[in-house]
């Protein structure tokens, strides 16, 4: 398997692997994929009071392209608002990494992980509000 220079660049400079405490109210967690298709991705976003993403961490069970996709995605996510985060397209990731057609699903999973993590955060927040309102 030959990887693109861009994929290897992100793979070789992994910075954002890690995790936040899943129970924190300002952390959104999204786990997507399945071992059957080869990749499982877990993305965690850390938000500030203004819903700005201040940090992003991930873990991946998957191939080199999957890891590089998450490394790039987490780099892009830092400092973004929720709207900006959801505006990231899978093609942004795929094109930046020059993923081959067979590996494009890695970028699709990265996009799904962002959506799942944001959804999880918003759900938590919603629940929090309900509690406060009682």
């Amino acid at each position: 398997m030959k990887y693109s220079e861009q994929t290897l660049k992100y793979y070789d400079s992994i910075n954002n692997v890690g995790e936040f405490d899943e129970k924190l109210p300002n952390v959104g967690t999204g786990t997507v994929g399945s071992p059957l298709c080869g990749d499982v991705m877990r993305l965690q976003l850390l938000f500030d009071e203004d819903d700005l993403i201040v940090d992003a961490k991930y873990k991946v069970f998957g191939c080199v392209s999957a890891i590089a996709s998450m490394e790039l995605a987490t780099t892009l996510l830092k400092g973004k608002t929720i709207e900006q985060a959801l505006a990231i397209k899978n093609s942004d990731v795929a094109n930046s990494l020059k993923l081959s057609n067979i590996k494009r699903h890695c970028s699709v999973l990265a996009k799904e992980a962002i959506e799942a993590a944001v959804k999880n955060y918003l759900e938590k927040k919603g629940e929090g509000r309900n509690d406060n309102g009682k």
């Binding site: 071992p35 059957l36 080869g38 877990r42 069970f61 080199v64």
Partner: protein, 401 residues
């Protein structure tokens, strides 16, 4: 490339220098066409006969039961396609094989199916072995032919060919054996085994690529002959000018294998033990896939739970191995062999095939252990699947939803 340790001998092997030395004169001085009626032709014919004799000795066949082909894929295609068609004329339209066969066989099975044959894949046990009772139960009168892999290319699992042949023959069914990973590595005696057809390749036993054998029992030649073929060329079974230099190389490799097989087997068994112990003594949740009790030791299919195969290969750059994971195969599906053995998806995706050959040293194995232990430790730290394993979550149930 030179400082990378090759541990992918089941994919292909380098040519033995003794093989190359034997071949060289046949590119230049002894270059004749073995069918020519002059001195050049005669010299080539002599070399071809000598090579055929050496190959036949390795499998204990008669001289005229060895047909040279381009390799096991072609041999398999000839044996299965022609025999199935011949047998269909007498009402035997059912063809059996295993789901764990090499793609070379499964592709032919698909083609036969498209041609109107009834193709059935027999279940294997979780250790990869064919259940002989199930085989017996599947053999109805309309089953003409079965194809079984001797040594599985992904797991090294050795099928009980002797017993399978006996059962098949009792039910009037012919058998083709894919011996690609068995030839020159374990004892093969086609007379004692009583197989009808057998295929193998030269490049798995230190001969060049592009040469292989089709063994065809004398009584079965009638199924393979094509009308109007020249009987002087490979017994009328395979047309085209015979590549004598390649045959000579294959012959030399067969001769070497006959002499050195047992010593190699012992040495490779020892290296396998060192490898498996080296890994399992340092890492937990390691699985060796396939029947331990019936396995060629040179092929090790090992799962490093929590780590994906392709990423493992990337993290172990000093060794060249092969991965059964979806990503590497370009098909995005799990290894069909491990799937047929009901290996859970996350474990199948964590598998590597490490194959040991005649040039592998103990020092190579030590480096392989070091590389794979370090790679596994690193990847587990960043693996959400490993986190689930460690917290006792049943992975299969999580992702079956």
């Amino acid at each position: 490339m030179n400082n990378v340790i090759y541990l992918d001998y089941a994919a292909t092997t380098p040519c033995d220098e003794r093989v190359v030395a034997e071949m060289l004169p046949h590119f230049t001085n002894v270059f004749g066409n073995p069918n020519s009626q002059h001195v050049f032709g005669n010299a080539a014919k002599d070399a071809l006969d000598a090579a055929r004799l050496k190959v036949s000795r390795l499998i204990n066949s008669d001289l005229d039961e060895v047909i040279f082909t381009s390799g096991a894929t072609e041999s398999t295609r000839i044996a299965l396609t022609r025999t199935a068609k011949s047998l269909s004329k007498i009402g035997k339209k059912r063809f059996l094989t295993l789901p764990t066969e090499h793609k070379a066989t499964l592709t032919v099975a698909d083609a036969l199916k498209a041609d109107g044959f009834i193709v059935e894949l027999l279940d294997v046990e979780n250790d990869g072995m064919l259940n002989l009772q199930k085989l017996e139960a599947s053999l109805s009168d309309d089953v003409g032919l079965i194809s079984v892999c001797f040594v599985n290319n992904e797991t090294g699992v050795i099928q009980n060919i002797e017993k399978i042949v006996e059962i098949c023959h009792n039910h009037g069914c012919l058998i083709h054996v894919d011996a690609t990973q068995a030839l020159g590595k374990i004892e093969i005696d086609v007379k004692a085994l009583n197989v009808d057809f057998m295929s193998a390749s030269g490049h798995k036993i230190y001969a060049p690529k592009g040469i292989g054998l089709l063994f065809c029992k004398k009584s079965c030649v009638k199924y393979l002959r094509v009308p109007k073929a020249n009987p002087e060329v490979e017994f009328g079974i395979r047309a085209g000018t015979v590549p004598v230099s390649l045959c000579v190389g294959f012959g030399k490799a067969a001769e070497i294998a006959s002499a050195e097989m047992h010593a190699n087997f012992e040495r490779i068994s020892r290296l396998r033990d060192i490898f498996v112990k080296g890994i399992t003594s340092q890492l937990e949740e390691i699985y060796v896939n396939g029947a331990e009790a019936s396995c060629y030791p040179g092929i090790i299919n090992m799962s490093f739970r929590g780590c994906e195969g392709e990423a493992l290969m990337m993290e172990a750059p000093r060794i060249a191995v092969s991965s059964g994971s979806a990503c590497t195969s370009n098909s995005l599906s799990i290894s069909h062999v491990l799937e047929a053995m009901h290996v859970p998806a996350d474990i199948a995706q964590s598998s590597l095939r490490i194959t040991i050959g005649q040039y592998t040293t103990e020092a190579d194995i030590a480096i392989a252990i070091e590389e794979l232990v370090a790679a596994t430790k690193k990847l587990r730290q960043m693996s959400p699947v490993w986190d689930m394993v460690k917290s006792g979550i049943d992975i299969d149930s999580v992702f079956r939803k």
